[in-house]
Symmetry: D2
Subunit: 429 residues, 4 copies
């Protein structure tokens, strides 16, 4: 099974121009139902409601991560670097291709609502009775476990883990470029070719030649801008909040015995919290959107209103809260309750760094999360020791707390709110 | 209602950089549920199964068509051309924005399966009891009818119809650019700025200054390439065929009284052929995909197999038929039937010019379908009279007939087929 | 000398992103004075007077041709194709890099004025007592002769000649892309990656896999557009004409014993027609422009006027001549002479296909000038046998005859010209 | 004279797509010899020796600055902002177009060598007996003086000065975009459209709406990267040093009565330091390069060697000096002298912040050098008060001191240098 294809196959890709597939096993993995399912899950969740171009799927992104990884390893092998373990190429390529396999529909929201982690699901799919598992078992019986180990970050060869998951990995490079391309913003343009040329395997790590420092600085600045302008955009946050409220409300109703007009397989299993691999793989964003559409006719007004809001993009408005206002939070909640607003559904506090996105901060942790530079004397230093600009931005923290709320409901009761509370909402955008 | 926005609003767009909204009515139309629904319908139907980047929606495209139209009219107004009817700006902008409003999920396939036309649906939505209708009626009572007249091509002012629908209209310019961008091919790059600068309103037509001829030639050549490489790509055709077979089979089963495990509102109405506007607007690609997913567990094997094929991208293979082989068609069909293959579902003949896409051919028809050049002496000539290259390509016709079939089923019976028939499939790609 | 560099060196290039240099000999050749001189010769001659971005040099282009050739050969070697002679890689790379070495300043004009051919000069430089020659002789004594043979198209291994010079060679691909980039037009965008992937060495030829046909069609159409919109642009033609008139006039004056106020080395040798290699290499566009600037103060009015025109971009106007007007040519010339205009300098007939650029025409000649497609059955066919679009455009011929003239001089005598002649110039743009 | 053109004229531009000319006076100014001369002066001086694509001229850049200014003013006028003085449009456009008119060949080096300032020359050309002056005087007698006042920054209407010269002016925006385009690096991509949309005339200043802050941050970071990677690139610095040594040496020789084999008009005037406007306009880079070429055959070895180095790109090598090494400077110079190296020509200390490029530093000065943000309450704040990222980078200072030297000469005497000195050069790249 582990054979080269007789003739390389390519996918046309707007970001990398062509994705090159050279191994039979990669080709077979792409053609499994589990991998094809990623076409039905968007890369950027609800961001398409803010940036209409952002309709691209995790399928595209996964191919991109595979392609970047392939290019890095090709360069390592062509140059014959001693620190790269040649036998691990296929493990690394498969881990790159499949690293997002466990993502569910509207991934971050569903994970939060149902306490799941997509990495766990990825491993279950790799190791389970799936086509992906079958394809990999043809390489060798322990091959799925090897790939899963890379995903779990405990593979025996740490450089493979580092290649697939680090602050400068193929995953991050692909999503910066891809999300910039599809949203149309130009903050995400990075000189990937230069970065790739500067990467070196070195003592169990992928490090960067010091002469590539400027390109890495530029990459980190792009990343910073993309977080604040795309990933943390308040309109996207607002749609995420509505999404999570829908899931929360539906779960509540289900657990309270509500009889839904529409609840196809495998949603009951999901709501009960005991969904298996085969059923999990039936979940996709088409199903969720269809449920939302059908639920616009549900008897529970809260649920049907939230679903209409999501589908018709009638999102919540928001105000920014400063420190004194933040201290009034309980007061606001009580005032809301007194005038008949729902203290949990009609106001939501959001502070973006709570998000599962990791802006690079060198101070925050272990060596695996650092970018290391390799100088001519083969010394290795953490980049912020060398780069003024990285040192300058690495502590930065621009998070602002926002309060989201349904504008129409609030307007109706505004004059009954205490003046002090009402004033907060008058600054509204 | 027909007021300028206090401050222009913009959408970030990867193709046109920014979409500029200046009128309140345009802003309100974009925010109706009917227009937001276009987010859930892909611009290129099943092409994403061939070009994975092609996941963009009709929402994006509609904004793009609006923006190009806005730029054309701005230029006309800035230059004060006498032949442009200034009062019709808003009618034209609304028609441009809303021209695709009636598209259903996987538009061409559903139209064929259920004998519908999206232009009819567009008019019904414009004129019906919809939010879009309500917004337009605030402009004036007859405003929806005016916009519908432009869609129907019988508006009193023919230049407005010509602007919105002609071989060089905003619709075609946007889709060439947008489809090229999202697929990643570069055949669709056209010098739109130059073409726009060269357009002139002239006696009820939008014509092109002769000095813009080369840009128009280039546009027509891009169009030609896009048709053959994107829109008529055999892999896309194969997925369209499976889609149409799914719809055909489901309709058959429904009419034969089959009891579906999944048939939510408004699919029964659709199958009965009496769906109303409000219900039609509930149809989207999420619903169709969800139905396909649920139907993979249907008792009818043909339907469940087709649905699995579509979702897992196990498409039909194809062979090209030359003229002698085409004459053997009945023989093939009989041979198929004899060995137990289904004469309608296990083979499908496809000849791409049957498609509802209109490659420009000057000989084919009326003046409205022609591109006219305006020279310095204010003479107007059809472009192929002036351009050698347009004359050369205008008769071209590269259609090839393909026979599509399920590879696994055919392989199983190959040795029982007459040699003459079997040989056709051995050339397979 | 023929060693790999310890570490690859790169040049940042706007068209190919990076130019990769891997061999010591290539690096040394780039650093010779003869190759550096190409920085002082523009790729597109006087086109910068029409497209102000077109200020790029033959140095950039030569690096680009080298890089494309390197990529083609890398692919051939990686795939291990039997028909590619591995030992010839370095010969091919050097020929690609150095093929334009003999170009003089404003190449086509100087060649015409002084009956020289740049290929001859290239060979003289390769074989002469130059640094380029010395670097190559370190590879082997006969290496310069091998490279020269490729330039002269009589190298023993015809595939090397074909790779470096054919209708689909690296030279043409680079200049289409580069000229499009620097002028800013988008007619020259071609899918080079796809074309490169489709090239195959086959029986002494570089052929194209049939599945790459569309990309080649697109390339030929781009080429067609670039010729008519960039290379044959009438404003560029006008500046070429003035340039040639300057050279013609200066040569005349020199041969008539005129004493120039400025005639530095090696212009006297050039004018006498016996310039040697070392002196030829002193010629560059800086010298020519400086001469023109100094000659604006020459006593010969014709020369000083022409030089001012060139430097200050006061070009000749032009009219298009139709067939009856063409037949009046002698009549025009006589009328011009009668009113005191100069029959050779004040009118100049130009018919662009006379130019040394070769638009591809399959009917015109030998097999070397054809593009061959290789199908799955390993049959080889000329592309216009297979492609409708290539067949359609291959006979096309859009040349128009223009008459160029100094507008101010003509205006002054217009009323004294015969009515029939005057009328020709009244249509003027 | 101050009339609109009957029909707008355009220049194709790779950066802004089209440059639109709408006024007769702008068209006439572009066609003057003084403006056409800018075609013969490169925008980035010697940077083309580092980035071979950087061969673009100040002509292109000047058109670009004009175009950006035109777009800003168009937006101001379309929006009818009260704080923009409508009558000053033409003054602003002319100042934008002509602001670089006084640049000499290899501008910064020639300014340093001959103690001149290009702004002074610009004003002399505007006000002198030139075609540019004549064209402007047709607008009104005091028009040239108005334009010159904008250049001198003392125009009566400060917002016009601010528009043409500020940290966020059209000049800087054009050169970032243009230099990025022609070098091929992608550090200079900025979202100009967004910045332009966010600019507001406000109390004699052009300020930025606060919602445009991120775009400005991105612009400042691009600028920062461009300085360190393009403008201060050590290879470019090395070629600048050689250029300045050539000019210094030639001036010395001239003043010592050396008899040059080549010294055409107007070089003697330049060397004597009393060159007039008409003669200054004869200076261009063609002349300088021609002089360098001729001087390779000069009897003064130092001059001829420097000229060969420049033309053949045999540049000086460099080492970075740390603080203790900097303190050894006199010691190094003495050691050099002792072994026969030239203490002024064979070593050159370079510290890039000495350059005439102004990286934005908010602490450094007056209000005119600041970027101001305008919030919804019409409060104006300096950007680093609001933006963490700008505050972080604004004090940054990455300058490193380099010592440049001729590698071949140094190698020949290396073993005679004191060990302590020699060691500095062994770290060499």
């Amino acid at each position: 099974m582990h054979r080269r294809l007789r003739e390389e196959k390519v996918f046309k890709d707007p970001v990398h121009n062509y994705i090159h597939v050279q191994d039979e096993v990669i080709w077979s993995l792409i053609n499994t139902p589990e991998f094809q399912r990623l076409r039905r899950i968007r890369q950027l969740g609800t961001s398409y409601l803010t940036f209409h171009g952002a309709e691209h799927s995790r399928f595209s992104h996964s191919l991109g991560v595979y392609e970047i990884t392939r290019r890095i390893i090709s360069q390592f092998e062509r140059s014959g670097y001693a620190d790269w373990p040649q036998g691990d190429k296929l493990v690394a390529l498969c881990a790159a291709l499949l690293h997002d396999l466990g993502h569910g529909p509207f991934s971050h929201s569903i994970e939060e609502a149902f306490q799941m982690h997509h990495e766990d699901w990825t491993c279950k799919i790799l190791l389970g009775d799936t086509e992906v598992g079958a394809v990999m078992r043809e390489v060798s019986a322990d091959f799925p476990e090897k790939v899963a180990a890379v995903i779990r970050k405990d593979y025996e060869n740490p450089i493979v883990v580092n290649l697939v998951s680090s602050p400068l990995d193929a995953d991050r490079m692909d999503y910066l470029l891809r999300d910039a391309y599809f949203t149309g913003v130009n903050y995400g343009t990075i000189d990937m070719d230069r970065i790739l040329r500067m990467l070196r395997p070195y003592q169990g790590r992928v490090v960067v030649k010091e002469s590539g420092m400027h390109a890495v600085e530029d990459y980190l600045m792009s990343r910073y801008q993309m977080y604040w302008q795309i990933y943390f955009h308040p309109v996207t946050r607002s749609s995420e909040i509505i999404l999570r409220q829908i899931l929360r409300r539906a779960k509540e109703l289900y657990r309270n015995g509500h009889s839904f007009n529409f609840l196809p397989h495998p949603l009951p299993d999901l709501f009960q919290g005991n969904i298996g691999v085969a059923d999990y793989l039936q979940l996709d964003e088409a199903l969720m959107q269809t449920a939302f559409m059908q639920w616009t006719r549900e008897s529970d007004e809260l649920l049907s209103d939230l679903c209409s809001r999501f589908l018709n993009r009638k999102l919540y408005k928001y105000v920014e809260l400063d420190t004194p206002e933040l201290e009034m939070l309980e007061e606001i909640r009580e005032a809301f309750t007194r005038v008949g607003l729902h203290p949990e559904y009609d106001m939501e506090i959001d502070f973006p760094t709570d998000l599962p996105y990791d802006v690079f901060r060198p101070d925050e942790g272990i060596r695996q999360k650092q970018i290391l530079l390799l100088d001519r004397q083969d010394r290795v230093r953490e980049i912020s020791e060398v780069s003024d600009i990285v040192r300058s931005i690495s502590g930065l923290h621009r998070g602002k707390t926002h309060l989201y709320y349904p504008d129409n409901k609030l307007s109706a009761v505004m004059d009954r709110l205490p003046r002090k509370v009402a004033r907060i909402f008058e600054q509204q955008n």
